[in-house]
Amino acid sequence: MSATINPEKAPTGTASGPSGPPIKRTMPAVRARRPRPAIWVPPMLVFLVLLGLWYAVSYLVLDEKRRFLMPPPDQVVTKGFLDPDVLGEILASLGQTAAVALAGLAAAIVIGMAWGIAMSQARWIERSLFPYAVILQCIPILALVPLIGFWFGFDFFSRTVVCVMIALFPVVSNTLFGLQSADRSQLELFRLQNASRWTVLTKLQLPAALPAVFAGMRISAGLAVVGAIVGDFFFRRGTPGIGSLISNYQSRVESAELFAAIITASLFGVVIFWLFGSISKFVVGAWYDVDAR
């Protein structure tokens, strides 16, 4: 019976609940009413621990001469982010990389969804095309990159091609999986009304696929950023991207700036990832539990 009393007392915020069997039953209530900032506490703690480790490596593991291998965080901030010249340089190149990543991601979404839809239309198409999606994912892209340069030149287009190749697979496989997730009885419901393939696709399979497609897009978004940076490394013509900047800092052993650039690039990836999560929640959140996996 204590289980029915606990939820009334729990919301006051005392996180330390008494242990014992009833706690399991009251968990959801406590979780739902916990003030929102609590969500940020665990990752914050992890962040502080990582920061501590970083300092430890910088000052305890590395001696002064080798400290450039891992400059302490405050140096990264002061020499990287707080220096207007460096920050300007980083942001400008990030803009270029972002353009490539977004173009690559858009192309990956269009091509990937078309590929997935084509495969969903017949077993033999799936059997003919799926192996190539897998192969594409297994190709050592880095080995191909120089060739792509020879084929398509050394600027924006080639960078986008690399980006697409790296980001394509999750959209293809998730689209296919999503389209096939419609129930048999739902398909039969449509078949009983003599619905056309197109109707079944647009009114049943595609909406049913949306949650999976968005999950795929989210993974692809992260990969697109990686792809764009890889492209930057190899194709230096045109406006430099953050990848070329990173490799410049590397060769000049400007490690604080290097770290600042890497962190900026990662943050950009996180933002895109989060953006697609939000879009997904907005589009399918009403009928699909995006968070429940």
Binding site: D183, R191, Q193
Partner: protein, 259 residues
């Protein structure tokens, strides 16, 4: 079955239009499973035929053949209407559509105009008692309400023949009884022909004008019972000795067919 002929429907049955006719129907799946063998079954206008049988005896297969989803491997199946309602075991609502849009789906697939669609949907939603829940998404509904939405969806077709594949099998007893009463009321009002599958004998007797008992492997009809109770059916009929006797007979036939 001998019983007092209380209502009009059984008397006029002989002249009523035959909507579904199975003659010596056999179904053998490509993998060699014989699901049905020598099935003769007729469903006429105004009849509500219920099929009971052990699970795996081919009840769903029978219904799938009647709907045209599957074709029999032997025998003749004649269906005299294209207005066939099909209610699946699960509600099969589209989770991204609200109740209204779900109920409108079939008319939409049949390319009915927007006005007709929404008119029909409104009537059907009213008929199943879901008024006020039009904007709700399926995830916000209870199992019984989902089933009612599914029923409403089929009702928009004004079906002449209504096929039900254990629609209330997953519901609790109280909800099931309530839906049985509702279905009976709708049946009395719309007078479609029904072919209803269930594994509950009392549900079968309560709902139908005829109960068909099937035996398993391969599925065949072992006995048919006429249900004599009048059609605007009094819920209290379930507590009469006549009702209990008929349920007993059907159960008995079901058990015999099992060997």
């Amino acid at each position: 079955m001998t019983a007092t002929q209380a209502a009009a429907p059984p008397a006029t049955q002989e002249e009523a239009k035959v909507l579904l006719d199975f003659k010596d129907v056999e179904m053998t799946f490509p993998n060699g499973t014989v699901a049905l063998s020598g099935v003769d079954l007729t469903v006429r206008e105004g009849e509500f035929v219920t099929v009971v049988g052990p699970s795996g005896c081919g009840k769903s297969t029978l219904l799938r053949i009647a709907s045209g989803l599957e074709s029999s491997s032997h025998g003749t199946v004649s269906i005299a209407t294209s207005r066939i309602g099909y209610v699946f075991q699960d509600a099969t609502l589209l989770p991204w559509r609200n109740v209204r849009a779900n109920v409108e789906l079939l008319a939409e697939l049949r390319k009915a105009s927007r006005a007709v669609r929404s008119q029909k949907a409104m009537e059907a939603i009213d008929l199943v008692g879901l008024k006020g829940f039009e904007e709700h998404l399926p995830r916000q509904l209870s199992g019984g309400m989902k089933m009612r939405a599914s029923l409403a969806r089929s009702l928009t077709l004004d079906p002449e023949l209504f096929l039900f594949d254990e629609p209330f099998g997953a519901l609790d007893e109280i909800t099931r009884e309530r839906l049985n009463d509702q279905l009976l009321r709708i049946f009395a009002e719309r007078r479609f022909a029904g072919l209803f599958i269930t594994h509950s004998v009392s549900e079968a007797v309560y709902l139908s004008t005829k109960v068909v008992v099937m035996s398993g492997r391969p599925g065949a009809i072992v006995r048919t019972f006429d249900v004599p109770f009048p059609i605007p059916r009094d819920p209290d009929i379930r507590f009469t000795p006549e009702f209990a006797a008929l349920v007993g007979d059907v159960s008995h036939a079901l058990r015999e067919g099992h060997h």
